[in-house]
C-alpha cells in the first residue's frame, strides 16, 4: 500500500440521504496516512454512516470518497483495501477462532498456501495476545477476547485502513481502558491508519491523534484532542467534549469585557473575535478554583454538593442568577478539605480559561 499520496482517505463534498432524511451533509475530510482519527459525536450525528461509506456498505448520495487516491464510488466492500471491526464483533458463529481469522486470507486470489495462512493467523493472534486460543469456539470466549478475535480478523489482511465501529462499547470500564492502550500500541506497530467511531469523548481523546467532532450530519471541528478540548470551535464542541459550565453575557464594544446579567464586568483577558452583543461563555470545571467568598469576584455562591471521586473532588455550587456550577479539583492541589456543603464560596479563574461563543450557536 506504499504510495506517495499523503492521505489514505478523502471525503469530497460527501452527502448521504436516506429518502427525506439527510444523514451526512457535505462532508470534506482528509485522513492522513498512519493517523488515528476518531469520529466523535452523539448518536445519529452521521459518524457511523461515514464509516460505513468508507467500508463500502453505503454509497454516498453525492460527492466522492477516495481511498489511497482511488475513487471508491460504486466499488463494493469486498474490493476495498479496508477492514472493519464491527460494533458487536460479528464473529462467524460456525467457525472457531482460527477459522474466523483465516477467513479473509482464504478469500485472496491468487490463493495463498495453507502454511502461509497458518503462519499469518498465528502472527495476527499473537499481535492481539491470543496465542493458544486458535481452536476455541468464539461463543465460549469473554467479550474482551471476542474483541481481540475481531481485531485479529480485521488486521490479518493487512488493510490500508482499519475501521473500528464503537469497538469498546460492550466492554466494562476496566477492560475498556486496557484496550484503549492496546489499540494505540497496535496502531503504532502496524503503522496503518485507524478510523474509530465513538460517542465516548474520553475514548476519542485518549486514543486518537485527530478528533473529528460531528453533529447533525456535519463536521463541527477537526483537530488534535488537546486542540478540541482546549479550543473548542463552538458551544456544541465545548459541551460535547468534556464538561462545561455555560452562562450568557453581553460583550462590550471593546470585545474585551463581558457584562454579566447582574451588570458586573468580567475581563476576558484578550479581545475576542466576536461581534459585540449577546454571547455565551463557558468554563471547564477544572479551570475554576474555589475561594472563601469575598464579594470581589463576579461569581459567588453556596456549595450544595461535594462528591468524592477518589482522584479528586467534584463540587456543585449554586450561583445566584446563574444556576449550578460544576467545579472539580485535584486532590494534589490540596483544596479537598476547603469547601463543604453550605459554605459561601467565590469562583475564581483566569481570563484565558473563559471560552466565548456566539449566542446564536445551538448546542
Amino acid at each position: 500500500m506504499a504510495s506517495a499520496l499523503p492521505n489514505d482517505i478523502e471525503f469530497r463534498s460527501v452527502t448521504k440521504a436516506y429518502g427525506a432524511v439527510t444523514a451526512v451533509r457535505d462532508i470534506n475530510l482528509a485522513i492522513p496516512k498512519g493517523s488515528f482519527l476518531a469520529l466523535l459525536g452523539p448518536s445519529g450525528c452521521g459518524k457511523t454512516t461515514c464509516l460505513r461509506m468508507i467500508g463500502g456498505f453505503e454509497q454516498p448520495s453525492e460527492g466522492k470518497i477516495l481511498i489511497d487516491g482511488r475513487e471508491m464510488n460504486g466499488v463494493p466492500a469486498y474490493r476495498r483495501p479496508v477492514n472493519m471491526v464491527f460494533q458487536h464483533y460479528a464473529l462467524f458463529p460456525h467457525f472457531n477462532v482460527e477459522q474466523n481469522v483465516a477467513y479473509g486470507l482464504r478469500q485472496m486470489r491468487p490463493r495463498i498456501s495453507e502454511t502461509e495462512i497458518t503462519r499469518r493467523v498465528a502472527e495476527a493472534l499473537s499481535m492481539v495476545r491470543l496465542d493458544g486460543f486458535a481452536k476455541r469456539r468464539t461463543h465460549e470466549m469473554s467479550g474482551g477476547q471476542q474483541q481481540r478475535v475481531a481485531l485479529a480478523r480485521a488486521i490479518v489482511n493487512r488493510p490500508a485502513v482499519l475501521l473500528l465501529d464503537e469497538p469498546l462499547a460492550a466492554l466494562d470500564k476496566k477492560l475498556r481502558s486496557a484496550m484503549q492502550i492496546e489499540l494505540q500500541t497496535l496502531q503504532r506497530e502496524l503503522g496503518i491508519t485507524f478510523v474509530l467511531v465513538t460517542h465516548d469523548q474520553e475514548e476519542a481523546l485518549s486514543m486518537a491523534d485527530q478528533v473529528c467532532v460531528m453533529s447533525a450530519g456535519r463536521i463541527r471541528q477537526i483537530g488534535s484532542p488537546q486542540a478540541v478540548y482546549d479550543r473548542p470551535a463552538d458551544l456544541f464542541v465545548a459541551d460535547f467534549v468534556g464538561k462545561i459550565n455555560r452562562f450568557s453575557a453581553v460583550l462590550d464594544a471593546d470585545r474585551l469585557t463581558a457584562r454579566l446579567a447582574d451588570g458586573r464586568a468580567l475581563s476576558l483577558g484578550t479581545a475576542r473575535d466576536l461581534a459585540p452583543g449577546r454571547i455565551e461563555l463557558a468554563l471547564r470545571p477544572e479551570a475554576i478554583r474555589l475561594e472563601k467568598a469575598d464579594g470581589e469576584h463576579p461569581l459567588s455562591g453556596i456549595v450544595t454538593h461535594r462528591i468524592f471521586l477518589g482522584s479528586g473532588v467534584e463540587y456543585a455550587v449554586q450561583v445566584e442568577g446563574f444556576g449550578d456550577f460544576l467545579v472539580t479539583s485535584d486532590r494534589s492541589s490540596g483544596e479537598t478539605g476547603l469547601a463543604a456543603p453550605g459554605d459561601a464560596v467565590s469562583l475564581t479563574f483566569g481570563p484565558a480559561a473563559i471560552h466565548a461563543f456566539h449566542a446564536s450557536e445551538d448546542a
Binding site: F57, Y78, F86, A90, P93, G104
Partner: protein
C-alpha cells in the same frame, strides 16, 4: 403447608409435563409396544393377531419391497426437490423482499393450507388425468402422454403439497441470520457467491435440516398422494399398511412393516442430524 421448596418444584413440573406425558404414554408408547409385540406374532386364521414369537413376519418383508423402495426413494427425493425450490423462495422472502411486503408474502406461502390437501390433490388428479393436461397436449399434436399414476405424478404432488413446510423453517433461519455477518464477510474480501456458500448457507443449515427432516418424516408415512396420483402403481408403505390392516387383516405383518419403518426413520434422522450439527457447529437444530 409443609411443602418444601423442592417438593413444590416437582409438583409444578409434574403439572406442566403430566398431561402431555399421559397423552403420549396412552396413545403413542402403549400402541407402539403393542405393535412391537404384534410384529413377532402370527396372523390368526380369521385375521387379526395370534400370540407367538416368530421372526417370520420380518422374514417376509421382501414381499413388500416395492413399497419400501418407492417410499425410501420418493420421500427423500421429494424432500430434496422441495428444498431446491423452497430455498430460493425462502431466501427471497427473508433477505431480498422489502420488509413491508414480507408479512403479506409469507402469509401467501401458508394460504394453500386453508383448503384440505385431499381436495387439492384431487384437483391434481384431474389435471394430470386423461382429460387434463394430456388432453391439452393432444390438441397441439403431442399424443400418448401419461402423467397420472407415474412416479413423476407422485413427486409433483409431493412438492406441491409439502413446499410450504419446507419454506417456513428455512425462512425462519435465514430471517434471524445476522446481516452484519454478511457485511463482515464482504468486508474481508468475500464475493457475494463466497459469502453465500461460506456464511449464509452453513448458518441456515439448521432450517434446511429441520425442513428436510419434517418433510421426509411426513412423506415416509404418506398415504394420500400415492393413493390418488399413483393409483395402484406407485404405492408407499402407508398404502401397504392400509391394505394389510384393513383388507387382508394381517396385523402381525403390518406391524412388522411399521416397526421396520420406524427403525429406518430413526437411523436416517440420527445420521442427518449428526451431519447438520457438524456443519452448523451448533446444536440448535430444531425438531430432534
Amino acid at each position: 403447608m409443609a411443602l418444601t421448596q423442592a417438593t413444590r418444584k416437582k409438583l409444578v413440573t409434574l403439572a406442566l409435563v403430566g398431561p402431555a406425558g399421559l397423552w403420549l404414554g396412552l396413545f403413542l408408547v402403549l400402541p407402539f409396544i403393542a405393535m412391537v409385540v404384534f410384529s413377532f406374532g402370527r396372523r390368526a386364521p380369521e385375521g387379526g393377531y395370534q400370540a407367538a414369537f416368530t421372526f417370520e413376519q420380518f422374514a417376509n418383508l421382501g414381499s413388500r419391497a416395492a413399497a419400501f423402495a418407492n417410499t425410501l426413494m420418493l420421500a427423500p427425493v421429494g424432500a430434496l426437490a422441495c428444498l431446491l425450490i423452497a430455498y430460493p423462495v425462502a431466501y427471497y422472502l427473508a433477505v431480498k423482499a422489502a420488509p413491508r411486503h414480507r408479512l403479506l408474502l409469507v402469509s401467501l406461502v401458508v394460504v394453500p393450507f386453508w383448503t384440505s390437501l385431499l381436495v387439492r390433490t384431487y384437483a391434481w388428479m384431474y389435471l394430470l388425468g386423461a382429460r387434463g393436461i394430456p388432453h391439452l397436449l393432444e390438441l397441439i399434436g403431442i399424443e400418448n402422454v401419461r402423467l397420472i399414476n407415474t412416479p413423476m405424478a407422485v413427486l409433483l404432488g409431493i412438492v406441491y403439497g409439502y413446499l410450504p413446510l419446507m419454506i417456513m423453517p428455512i425462512y425462519v433461519s435465514l430471517e434471524k441470520l445476522d446481516r452484519r455477518l454478511l457485511e463482515a464477510s464482504a468486508d474481508l474480501g468475500a464475493k457475494p457467491v463466497s459469502t453465500f456458500f461460506g456464511i449464509t448457507l452453513p448458518l441456515s443449515l439448521p432450517g434446511v435440516m429441520t425442513g428436510l427432516a419434517l418433510v421426509t418424516i411426513l412423506l415416509l408415512g404418506e398415504y394420500l398422494i400415492p393413493q390418488l396420483l399413483g393409483g395402484g402403481k406407485v404405492f408407499f408403505i402407508g398404502n401397504a399398511l392400509v391394505d394389510l390392516f384393513l383388507q387382508s387383516r394381517n396385523w402381525p405383518f403390518g406391524s412388522a412393516i411399521a416397526v421396520t419403518l420406524v427403525v429406518v426413520v430413526v437411523i436416517v434422522l440420527t445420521i442427518a442430524m449428526r451431519i447438520a450439527w457438524r456443519f452448523a457447529g451448533t446444536r440448535q437444530v430444531d425438531l430432534v
